[in-house]
């Protein structure tokens, strides 16, 4: 008697669980199967995502297209001891009085040596965004160039390039290093 009622209850519970599962399955996917354990096939969605190994073994990249003999920075330049670096304030490209004096003497040197072609290189300290500093270095070099042109230097003899915060004179992180790195350099092109 006792076992019988137990059995009946068990059946009832099973029935209820089944209906429940059914109901819950229907909420999500109308095509849910009717058994307590949905989905009965093995094939499922296998084999739909075959990796095409395309490219995977091509990973040993060929670098043959690269000209290995390329020189360091393309253009050969040489420092001219008589031409002095000028420095700038943080995030500035205006020329200080001191910088203007130096540019005057640089311009005078160039007039004395008309065969010299000079490249003005603009640099920044490491603070700030790299891309912004590239533009800022360009500004600094251009500021120096236009000042020298206003002093009578032939603009044809002056070119500019920016290295941004690359190639610092002092790679450490100190105010002194930053001040040293915020500069424009004058190099003779060959």
């Amino acid at each position: 008697m006792k076992s019988f009622s137990k059995k009946a209850l068990l059946q009832l519970a099973l029935l209820l669980t089944a209906t429940l599962l059914l109901a819950s399955g229907c909420a999500k996917k109308p095509a849910a199967t009717t058994t307590a354990i949905p989905e009965t096939t093995v094939s499922e969605d296998m084999g739909q995502d075959m990796i095409q190994t395309e490219g995977l073994d091509e990973m040993d990249l060929s670098e043959t297209a690269i000209d290995e003999s390329a020189s360091e920075y393309g253009v050969t330049t040489a420092a001219v001891s008589a031409l002095q670096n000028i420095s700038f304030e943080f995030d500035q490209y205006t020329l200080s009085a001191e910088a203007q004096d130096l540019l005057v003497s640089n311009a005078a040197y160039m007039q004395a040596n008309p065969e010299l072609k000079i490249r003005i290189e603009g640099y920044c300290d490491e603070r700030g965004s790299d891309e912004y500093n590239l533009a800022l270095g360009q500004r600094r070099a251009l500021a120096a160039k236009s000042f020298m042109v206003s002093l009578g230097t032939d603009p044809q003899l002056l070119s500019v390039i920016s290295y941004g915060e690359e190639l610092p004179l002092d790679p450490t992180s100190s105010e002194e290093a930053y001040a040293l790195n915020r500069r424009a350099e004058f190099k003779a092109e060959r």
Binding site: S62, I66, V75, S129, D130, E131
Partner: protein
Amino acid sequence: MRLLALLSLVFLLLTAPAAADIEISAPGQQTIPLASTKLLAQGMVPAQIVNDFDQTLNDDLLLSGLFSLVEPNSFLSDARRIGLNSSKVDFGQWRLLGAEGVIKGVCRLEKGKLVVEVRLFDVTHRRLLTGRRYVGAQTDVRRMAHRFADQILKSLTGEEGPFNSRIAYISNTSGHKELYLIDVDGRNGVRLTNHRSIVLNPDFSPTSKELLFTSYRAGNPDLYRKAIYSGQEARVSARPGLNIAGRFRPDGREIALTLSKEGNSDLHLLGTDGSHHRQVTKHWSIDVDPSWSPAGDKLAFVSDRQGNPQIFIFDIFTKQVKRLPTAGKYNATPAWSPKGDRIAFSRLEKGRFDIFTVAVDGSDERRLTFGPGNNEHPRWSPDGRFIVYSSDQSGAKAIYIMRADGSGVTRISPAGGDCNHPAWSGRW
């Protein structure tokens, strides 16, 4: 009469069966407990393959922040039983361990090719969630694991993961700044350039396996593009002055970049062959660092037109320029999220950069990094779940990734080399 209506209402309310009300205002478990079993080898398969798959998959799953992994030592007999059909999985065992999902798979070698079949089951509903078969070289096992991790994320969130993608960055390990490529987990690193000069600022083509970058190789910061697999390389723009910060438009058809050919740095649009399409900004200020909106109709960029570097948004069609209203005196390197809703950027404050994100209208600013050191150059993963960036938090510059909320910071670049300028590819 109103009284009457009111009373009848009260009557109705009182006679209605009163179901108790419960509010649950946060899930008790904020990660999904997953049981990740190792692949079972069918025949002779090197143990290394099984371990590589297991490690790669689990690292990806943990990095996602979505999951907690059930301790493998607690696994019961079902973990050692091949049974890839949901009717053969003993879900009771997994439920007992508290797992909500279980990953089971097999691997075998067929004619030298590695075949991996792996499936994710839903323990609660006792059904298959996703299943994949991968066929490839034995060396592709990590890639298969990344792919399956992406698949798991897709089946549980509706959006594929970013693990099957690459990250490009600049390193001077060789003594020169060159372009490198690594997997999202920092493995499989390769060097792509040998310019022996200065290479900067990579950006992935959204539509093909190509990279843009700037190099001083020819004596000027020029823009190059390089096909990753063929190694073919071409100089796209070598105009006098700067040719920097090139960014593919999301449709892959145009490149935004900064040129300074007339002395001033402005944004321009070029064709992918380098032909000049149009000038975007024309302002005495410095305009750099463009970042496309995912629709390709707007450009976020950095300009000092208001005094200090700040982020502005240019509308390609209306040609309106609007400031992205953010705090701070020095904001740079904007990166538009792939969903288009937020912009990540770095802010210089007290001499240090940290990474922030902000809604495109300037609201809801969130700071993601809190030092130490500089945290710069944020770029989004293709699904917007992660941000890659460069940081010198542990001394030398290195590449890190973190979740878009700033959690889960993981270093991915190898030691040394002043790694910098990361860029995240699209799905590979």
